[in-house]
Amino acid sequence: MTQAPDLAPPPTLEVRGGRKNFGAVHALRGVDLVARAGEVTALVGDNGAGKSTMIKCVAGIYPFDAGDVLFEGQTTHISSPADANELGIEVVYQDLALCDNLDIVHNMFLGRELKKGFRLDESAMETRAAEVLASLSVRTVRSIRQHVASLSGGQRQTVAIARAVLWNSKLVILDEPTAALGVAQTEQVLQLVRRLADAGLAVVLVSHNMNDVFEVADSINVLYLGQTAAQIRTKDTSRMEVIELITSGSAGMPAGAVAPRPSPDAPERATRVASATATTSDATTTTNGSTSA
């Protein structure tokens, strides 16, 4: 997409060597991630690879124990959801985090209501919510004053995404946005994801579904057992290779360059972290051919 390798601005988000332990459990043992403005970066990995933990660390639900987080090139420390919001990081969680008993407008502005003095500025919020939904080409919602409980899965996902872009967000993290959707709704949501990136946001898409990943992602980051196996340009890789990385943590030579340890100033790169269990991979790939369950 929009790469000018040498003069490229720093990535919107960069994580280097992120670690997270829960007691004796080493959930993250060194993760690296680069998410650039205008790109969709897919975060893939098998169940338990650490995808959810990683986005929760970035979102400030709980902070990394060790490692560096750079936001727009600046080292930063995200220790609460409020910190993340302040930086312009928005997360759309898998379970959507919407309140069924509130209407669309109230959900979109939850926690950041527009006010006139003490009072909520209902009409300003309603107008603004309608504008955002319209600009996201959302045409399926009957009334933005209807309760979220009455919406379909795709509409709920749309509301959650619209809420994330309502603010000056720079990085939107989507956790399995299509997991519970039908074919047509999946397509709508993927188009929406692409539009977010085309509008200049950095988008991180957590997904299990290779079709989704290869349809919208510019770059793919693979987690394997709490470590980053690789981050590769989508155009330089193949489904087979990504699946191999997901299931075994290593693959045959990726098409791009291979560095044993990522050098932070190589913008167009494929990072490969030596996996602890980097052995032969043929056995697992054949039994676990597809992870798009």
């Binding site: 639900i61 959801p81 409020a82 919001n85 997360v91 969680y93 959507l96 985090a97 919407l98 309140c99 069924d100 008993n101 509130l102 109230h106 939850l110 926690g111 950041r112 209501e113 527009l114 006010k115 003490f118 009072r119 909520l120 009409s123 309603e126 107008t127 603004r128 919510a129 309608a130 504008e131 955002v132 939904l133 319209a134 600009s135 996201l136 080409s137 045409r139 919602v141 009334s143 933005i144 004053r145 309760h147 979220v148 409980a149 009455s150 919406l151 872009v165 309502l166 603010w167 000056n168 967000s169 539009r195 977010l196 085309d198 509008a199 200049g200 946001l201």
Partner: protein, 425 residues
């Protein structure tokens, strides 16, 4: 703050804004009927029950039930329950419960009474002490529920037992502190002068009319869906009739012996409760804090992720509940002109929970309004009062009130299921 990072410039005017079709009067009624059938009944069952009960008691006791003396009496009888119920709405909206509100009101009443008598404090100091006690109780319960994490049912059950003991300790077994302070006694026993009553009624009606017409005009101008003007006017007229009718009734002489004492005017407690209801209703529906209360009741985890301090919201709601209990304790002390060790005991709390639930506040959290407490409290006060006039024993009264509460809870549960089915949540 609200600059856009949205992909495309909005091309066509949205279906949602600008070109909305404004509903006609008939459509608005149709929408309401659909809403009710979909399971979102609000206070409708309670209003119908109230109408049926009033009609029944008027037919059975035509000379006493609709008398002006009894109508004024109803307001004063219902005041304590309604006040606690308004506070309980905040806690119920969270999906929590406060079983200690009754005895919390007793503790505050006892503090008021001992302050006035044993320590000889002026009324405002005793009043402030009682209200402060309510706030402290609320903070304590809120801390145990929100910070320590004890389920509110257990926390407030423990507080219920403990406060019962505290009232007993303050007043002493078999004791009784009488209240003679004229200001405190006036709260529940005196009336607003008739002219002032009229003035307040007119101000209230004009303020309601002005604000609802202004909202209507603003929404129309901004191209947002607004209720049809006819509907707005119907509501204004209905409210005016109720308010003016009530003031007209209450401004009549109702003393049994007018030559000796004259009882005339709106009871002081009525404007007091209306003011409290307006303030609390404003907090719930027009402020971000109120919105967060509904959000916590709907999905506490989502609310937390939205960056809202859920614990602080819970603390605040329990504090408001106990503060309202303190006001109720003062009103109860004023009405009885004394405080005894059973203050806030027996059926006070259960009537208050019943009032909120009968009015349409859900026990499951996330749904309810302040007006529910007023309507539900009216139902309870009418049952209590009417059945006493009919000469039924306390036993029968409790059975009937219990049955009404069970019916209200059933309506809540069924309408919730129905709302799930029709996607109105």
């Amino acid at each position: 703050m609200s600059t856009s990072t949205v992909p495309e410039a909005p091309t066509a005017p949205s279906l949602l804004a600008g070109s909305v079709e404004q509903p006609t009067f008939g459509e608005a009624i149709g929408n309401y009927v659909r809403k009710v059938r979909g399971g979102d009944m609000g206070s409708l069952p309670a209003i119908l029950a109230l109408a049926v009960l009033i009609l029944a008691f008027v037919v059975m006791k035509p000379e006493t039930f609709p008398s002006t003396l009894n109508i004024a009496n109803l307001f004063q009888q219902g005041a304590v329950v309604v006040t606690i119920a308004m506070g309980l709405v905040f806690v119920l909206l969270l999906g929590e419960i406060d079983l200690s509100a009754g005895f919390a009101s007793g503790v505050c009443g006892a503090i008021l009474a001992t302050g006035l008598t044993a320590y000889g404090w002026p009324w405002y100091l005793a009043l402030a002490a009682a209200l402060a006690t309510g706030i402290v109780i609320g903070l304590l319960i809120g801390t145990l529920v929100a910070r320590v994490g004890i389920p509110s049912f257990v926390t407030t059950l423990a507080a219920f037992l403990a406060f019962q003991g505290v009232v007993l300790l303050i007043i002493g077994a078999g004791g009784n502190i009488s209240i003679t302070d004229p200001v405190i006694v006036a709260l529940q026993n005196k009336n607003v002068p008739p002219l002032l009553g009229w003035a307040m009624a007119i101000v209230a009606v004009l303020a309601y009319a002005g604000s609802s017409l202004r909202t209507w005009q603003l929404r129309r101008r901004r191209g947002l869906v607004a209720a049809p003007l006819g509907m707005v006017v119907v509501k204004i007229v209905a409210l005016s009739l109720v308010v003016i009718g009530m003031v007209a009734i209450l401004n009549q002489e109702r003393s049994l012996n007018p030559l000796r004492t004259s009882i005339i005017g709106v009871p002081i407690v009525v404007p007091l409760i209306v003011t409290l209801a307006l303030i609390l209703g404003f907090v719930l529906t027009r402020t971000a804090f109120g919105r967060h209360i509904y959000a916590v009741g709907g999905n506490a985890e989502a609310t937390r992720r939205a960056g809202i301090n859920v614990k602080a919201v819970k603390m605040a709601c329990f504090t408001i509940c106990s503060f309202m209990a303190a006001i109720a304790g003062i009103l109860a002390a004023s009405r009885a002109t004394s405080v005894d060790p059973n203050a806030g005991g027996s059926n006070v709390l259960l009537y208050a929970v019943g009032a909120a639930v009968i009015g349409g506040t859900s026990l499951f959290g996330g749904k309810g309004r302040i007006v529910d407490a007023l309507i539900g409290g009216a139902v309870i006060a009418v049952i209590d009062n009417g059945m006493a006039l009919l000469g039924y024993s306390a036993g029968i009264k409790y059975v009937v009130t219990g049955a009404v509460l069970a019916a209200a809870a059933a309506v809540d549960a069924i309408s919730r299921r129905r709302a799930r089915a029709t996607g109105r949540g």
